[in-house]
Symmetry: C2
Subunit: 292 residues, 2 copies
Amino acid sequence: MTSAPTGQVPGVYRRRIGDILVTALCDGYLDADPSVLRNIAPDQVQAVLREGFRPFPPRIAVNAFLVQAKGRTALIETGSGDTMGPTLGHLVANMRAAGVAPEHVEAVLLTHMHPDHSNGLRAPGGGRVFPNAELVFHEAEWRHWQDDAAMAAAPERKRVRYFQAARHQVEPYLNQLRPITGGAVFPGVTAVPIPGHTPGHTAFLVADGPDSLLIWGDTVHIPEIQTRHPEVTLDFDTDPDAAAATRRRLFDQVATDRMLVGGMHIHFPAFAHLARHGEGYALVPEAWSPAM
Amino acid sequence: MTSAPTGQVPGVYRRRIGDILVTALCDGYLDADPSVLRNIAPDQVQAVLREGFRPFPPRIAVNAFLVQAKGRTALIETGSGDTMGPTLGHLVANMRAAGVAPEHVEAVLLTHMHPDHSNGLRAPGGGRVFPNAELVFHEAEWRHWQDDAAMAAAPERKRVRYFQAARHQVEPYLNQLRPITGGAVFPGVTAVPIPGHTPGHTAFLVADGPDSLLIWGDTVHIPEIQTRHPEVTLDFDTDPDAAAATRRRLFDQVATDRMLVGGMHIHFPAFAHLARHGEGYALVPEAWSPAM
């Protein structure tokens, strides 16, 4: 026999939206502290995970999406870089496995600035991971993390891991920032504000002709739990009530219109639909397609 | 930008069962003729597929599994080779992408002898695709396809596509056949007869310590439909009543014991659990794991 491999295959999956190529890229996973969940009893967390044949504590996928449209290349999210341990930080390796180098990326689009989304901007040496990319994000997001008074008032952990990290990660891109408020932001890509999880939390609608994909950022962190119980928030939601209200509104729209969604924390390859299920919803992962 | 790729990534996914490495390999897909379904109204077929966000006509995945255990390599199923058109026949290319060549395969285990399972045995030139493999299958399966009276009585299409194909595919391996009736058949692999779909239809239980995986062959062809409606049979079930009864019995066991299953027609990467759902069941695809 041949010697058995010791690692998983690259986390890369391709899907066309009309003529646009969207490539899901896996950054890795993290095992979440279940105590960050609000509005749900601990034994119910365990029951829902068990019903979905998922481990406890909840294991969360972290994904990003590469968009190649009309000869141009954008990356939606950067993963966590080298800041969150060895189970994460595999985005660039997977992007290279997909045939794209960091210097090919012309724009980095952020759904928001949390460590597992934007800490991949900066290389360990301090420079840019994406030397040729402008940095696109909602203006309310940047304003929030730049707010000195909010930072001073934040608990130590949030000050260091969120406020300081966001500032540190963005710093090498200061000469190429493009704050947005919504609308067309890249060929085939429209920004849709979905505030609550953070002030500038933004979804990106990728569309070509009748085909579309809504990349909904952190609308769910633990899909099994938050689709069944949209009221479940996390203690790092900036405005938990708004986060839950936005999630309910988006779920209703996605289910009613049978939209295809992509999510940073939907299990890789991270494409799914949403079905109504009892009082809540259920995520229906899109089946892997061997053809593109 | 870099030029965009035009094909999907290789259909390869690795999963450990204890110390055994199981690699799911995609052979491709086929669009099924829905008129082969029995015990379900055509509009119900469409409704169930729509509810699962699946296309109509039903698109069926075809998968195989490589098992590497205790230094030895077995392949469970061979896909359809070059006999069923360009959407299928990608097994060997995907196996090579996984780092395994056909000559490394020491045993080919067949769940049964239908074109999308065993037509990958023989190369276009007529020789073996797997030069060093013994061929392992249930003795009732081979007896069935070797039955001259049954072949003479079969309709033309079944005679050519099933009886003649089975004989033709097996012929280069006649000096290395290993008919079985059940029990241990390879390191870590136990054969479990599940007759009905064909007389020798066989599941393979891969187990190491407390970890196990039941590769259940064609217990479902169209998972969305047959989990919800286990009574739905196909016109190429040899004994439709037995096929449905076996399916119901196996579903009960898999759901009760929370078993992990692998299926030739479960969407790639083809690992799942089964949950009770109303009068029937629902398949819960196992989430992609970035780690092995």
